[in-house]
């Protein structure tokens, strides 16, 4: 049956995805209930996130700005959403410490939203008057033009701390190496697997993969946010167990479980 004439109300090939989503939501609800019930939600300390305070403190002492790069993703990407959550925390810290913050934006929609998040963070820190219009500013939606603009800022203004959080692509090493040249302390978190090695080589601290998505919860330490990280861990444990079981089953001549896990 062609797509144009498709009149079915459910795609049976995607039932495994629906079950997986339902299980994840169940984990989420369970952990939020645990969090609201007073359970201690522990997240192991992440060196990169503990270093954020140190980096902002260093920038304050040196009288130089903090450069926050939210990545080259748009609002449809989870990396950008995670970056906005982290920006709120970072902006609050810079407001409390009286340090300048600069956030060059790549996507115009994300830039507008980040501006609102940063303003709100300054308001919550009681430093609304310290928020400088133009702290979050749109640069360009051309990849290497953005890189050129940000590199120029790094070399002219010499920020004391560079924080890269979001979706980065070919420009990741360019930005990290330029920041390295200026002697800035650099903290990176990226959801692109292919770019992580470049950040690991060129930055002082790197958040690997899912740590980017846990960062917002770690910095805020709010129980409900920590509960979502716990749900994420439960889902990962379940996924790992299913991979191992299906591997063993396939090795023993029963590939059905592995076929069940295939997606379309």
């Amino acid at each position: 049956m062609s797509d144009a004439l498709n009149t079915s109300w459910f795609d049976p090939a995607r039932v495994n995805l629906l079950v997986g989503l339902a299980v994840f939501i169940a984990f989420l609800i369970l952990n939020i209930k645990r969090a609201k019930g007073g359970s201690n939600m522990f997240i192991r300390p992440l060196a990169g996130l503990k270093a954020v305070d140190e980096a902002i403190g260093r920038a304050t002492e040196m009288g130089r700005p903090v450069l926050y790069l939210p990545g080259l993703g748009d609002m449809s990407e989870a990396g950008t959403l995670a970056s906005i959550a982290i920006l709120g925390r970072v902006a609050r810290r810079t407001a409390e410490m009286g340090c300048d913050l600069d956030v060059p934006g790549y996507d115009p929609v994300a830039t507008t939203i980040m501006d609102g998040a940063a303003r709100q963070a300054y308001t919550e820190a009681g430093r609304r008057d310290a928020y400088r219009p133009g702290t979050v500013h749109y640069v360009t939606t051309q990849q290497f033009a953005y890189v050129a603009a940000v590199s120029g800022f790094m070399l002219r203004e010499r920020p004391a701390a560079n924080i890269f959080m979001g979706s980065f692509y070919a420009e990741s090493l360019f930005l990290a190496e330029t920041g390295n040249l200026t002697g800035a302390i650099q903290i990176a978190g990226c959801d692109q697997v292919t770019q992580l090695p470049f950040f690991v080589c060129a930055c002082d601290y790197t958040l690997l993969g899912e740590e980017l998505f846990a960062a917002g919860a770690f910095l805020g330490q709010e129980p409900v946010q920590l509960a979502t990280v716990a749900a994420q861990d439960w889902a990962k444990a379940l996924a790992a167990a299913m991979v191992v079981v299906s591997l063993l089953a396939s090795a023993m001549g029963h590939p059905e479980l592995g076929l069940l896990l295939q997606t379309r």
């Binding site: 995607r14 998505f213 990962k236």
Partner: protein, 205 residues
Amino acid sequence: MRNGPLVITFLVATSLVAMFFIPHHKVQEGQSVLLNWANVVYAFALILGSLTLWVSHQKKVLARAEGWPYSVVTLAALSFVTVAGTVQGVEEGTLVNRYYNMVNSPLASTMFALLAFFIASAAFRAFRARNAEATLLLGTAIVMMIGRVSVGEFLWSGFPPVTEWLLDVPNLAAKRAIALGIGLGAISTALKIILGIDRTYLGRS
């Protein structure tokens, strides 16, 4: 009123998730309409972003701030592309198209080409035998670099297969493990937004 945006986010997001599982042609048409609306929102945000860009660079020029000549170039390029694109369009042979092919593309390619030198400097700094893990990284990098060039096979026929094994087994295993975590993290982040647990995108904590 304060919860209006949260309700809209929840309804639109759950609709899009549901549409993923419903192949009915009317539902898929509705999904296309919603995604086209996103393009319209993007276009307006682009106008807002361009205006912000204009204002910030104009201030630098009027105040003769450091680097103000570069702001003049930025404003000139922004004006030219906007006016020429509006008057002539952006098809083949128009001023904007020629500007893109003769100026923008070569500049972007130049920047991309610089990446090779940055890779060399990062490798020189990172591949040092400081400890066991760093030594392992250094050894693997040497094998990979030799195995990827023709002289590697000339020196020893085993270099290419070893290189391929390194890429296909340990490297791929690590990539998939990280990708699994990223996928689950992305789902968690999306659910936090949909369910209103994370409201930073609205300018609220």
